[in-house]
């Protein structure tokens, strides 16, 4: 989990969108409940916006420098896979920085 401490350097904003009650968003809801505290403790100033809305497909958005954004659809993923996706987005931010 060392990559979590450097999220602030590679990402400008994290957004998680999901539905409050649908089964497709269950993994996203559990991921936020279990991991929000840890991510926020390591990155107090990084916006981690959790937006719940009925009927919304679960999505994970990352914003990088210059307003560049990437989105990952979380439908069908498990919590571990969501964690992996977040790590990939953070690494993508690192590579964007070096350009």
């Amino acid at each position: 989990m060392a990559w979590r401490a450097s999220l602030s350097r590679s990402l400008k904003e994290i957004r998680v969108l999901f539905c409050q009650s649908s089964p497709a968003s269950a993994a996203a809801r559990e991921f936020v409940k279990k991991n929000y505290g840890d991510i926020k403790a390591r990155n107090p100033s990084l916006p981690f916006l959790v937006r719940e809305c009925s009927g919304v497909q679960p999505q994970l958005w990352a914003r990088y420098d210059m307003g560049v954004e990437r989105c990952v659809n979380l439908d069908g993923l498990t919590e571990a896979q969501i964690d992996k996706k977040l790590e990939e987005l953070a690494k993508a931010g690192e590579s964007l920085k070096t350009k």
């Binding site: 904003e13 957004r15 409050q20 929000y36 937006r51 719940e52 809305c53 919304v56 210059m66 307003g67």
Partner: protein
Amino acid sequence: MAFLARALRQSNWRLSSRCPAVAASCRWISPTAAAGSPEAGAAVAPADLELPPPREPVGGARVELPPNPEDALEVFVDGHAVRIPKGFTVLQACEVAGVDIPRFCYHSRLSIAGNCRMCLVEVEKSPKPVASCAMPALPGMKIKTNTPVAKKAREGVMEFLLMNHPLDCPICDQGGECDLQDQSMAFGADRGRFTEMKRSVVDKNLGPLVKTVMTRCIQCTRCVRFATEVAGVQDLGMLGRGSGEEIGTYVEKLMTSELSGNVIDICPVGALTSKPFAFKARNWELKGTETIDVTDAVGSNIRIDSRGPEVMRVVPRLNEDINEEWISDKTRFCYDGLKRQRLNDPMIRGPDGRFKAVTWRDALAVIAEVLHQVKPEEITGVAGKLSDAESMMALKDFVNRMGSDKVLCEGNGPNPPADLRSNYLMNTSIAGLEKADVFLLVGTQPRVEAAMVNARIRKTVKATQAKVGYIGPPADFNYDHEHLGTGPQTLVEIAEGSHPFCSVLQSAKNPVIIAGAGLFEREDQVALFSTIETVAKKFNVMRPDWNGLNVLLLHAAQAAALDLGLVANPAESIKSAKFLYLMGADDISLEKLPDDAFVVYQGHHGDKGVYRANVILPSSAFSEKEGTYENTEGCTQWTIPAVPTVGDARDDWKIIRALSEVAGAQLPYDSLSAVRDRISTVAPNLVHVDERETPTISAEVKPPVKQQVSSTPFKAVVENFYMTDAITRASKIMAQCSATLLKK
């Protein structure tokens, strides 16, 4: 009446449309003659004796059959059987049956007085006509509303009412929307028999908002009951008896409630009318547009009556969940601010310090040139109190694409709690406050911060004797409350369990904690809300079936700004700014701004922000544009343009979109629907119009807080209820209210 039907559907959230396009297409613009009071409109409808009366409930009738059949009963109205809940009155039963009973003193949100006698109906086995508003409906009761006895009774009552009523309809401001006019046409006799002198009554002085012509008063006591029950001020009362009866303030006294303008709506005659609107227009000349109020965070539903390019008045429209059918005086009377101090041309400050009007092309070119001279991290964008979600989305996208993260909304403090929606919304909902039995107000004064929420709290306190505990500076409440302390130490005592108020919270079934948004501005905001969350956990305020932890926001843009993630620290952002973009931001402190900073002010009023500006860009006010606003409970609502834009002003988001193109960081949306599509990728709840999206992730997932609570006392956030934003500061009516009504 169609807008009432839509409002009724709106008040039941289960029936709300989930498609924004359908919700938008339901909105319409109507001549206000058709949109008068439901009683007046329905009473005029001719009774077609050939057809049975319609079975749909009367517009405005509110009925919800209880699930238990034992709690319902059956009555017969004009031969038709209807099922109603127990406890309904005869008048309510008739409304459910589709029969509109004329009335003057009855109002569905006030207590029953029964003194006008206009609602007389005939009940089988009853020797005399019955006042239907005061008679409970009994099982099997046979009600007749269209018999010669009932008609004769109403005719007699109308004759008595018109006895002393002045025949000054041509000069009365209530003309065209007067219940007395309409009901005398429908139920009165065709001639008068009164030949003696009519009495006259001295007019009372209620202040700069309500004009009185007390000779027209029919003593229905609606205003007395409204002032006592809803507004919570004992200003009005009945004096004298018999033919000497007068409504007044007993002694010379102004009506000082924040809701006093609503007596204009509930007065069925022209005794109480709007003083600023006196002799300005007739209601059939006006075009009504349904839109949303932006003077506070409640998002009251209003109808703007306009004539050509001018807003003539603002009246409430029905929304059971948010404002019922009331609005605050600030909402109702600040409309003349929309006509004064307006910016209408782009302007650039010249070397001599004076502003010179230029074209849009020149202004945008100058701004883009300066943008390329500063470093990306020196760019700061500030959204103002009245910004809509589309403009804030465009501003955030633009500043982000220029390489800066410093986008904020004024009033959200140094560390906005934007991550979890439950941390900044009124989670109980405004209507849900009526189920509470204990209120703990922390650093908030709802009477001046959100008058409509205060009316709900007062309604709950009166109905169920709910307890109110208040932590903050000494303030004026219009219900019983217990002042627990002035600062966070009291809150810490409650969290530790050593305060006497803990026993009240412990015994509560549905406790409510309301924190004021003024707490966002404190440096110890994180620790303070952590303490509030500790109190909430300790006293079971957050459960699966009840969430009583609330934040009462201060202005219209705040909830949407937090949803969209405008979370930059204002002090640091201003201090390091070399390019500052103020989008209607007039109340943010610019003391720390460097002297060589370039300031762009985009807004609709020449208010505080223009004094420091290098470029001024005119934009539309809320009454002139389509915009998305989210209120303090998280309900998304749209404004509809009622009047054309002033001068060469444009919509806020369109200005930023054009600027992005000139600056070389073009934003990808060209239409309002494209902006809203973009918003749906950031905060999808902002495109679900007229709906609340309940957050389920609570504060329990947050990491522990190491910060300590400061001992600085809470301070009042709203010093002057009548002047809180650029529109109200430009209003002459609000200036008069500040001068005469503010308590010193």
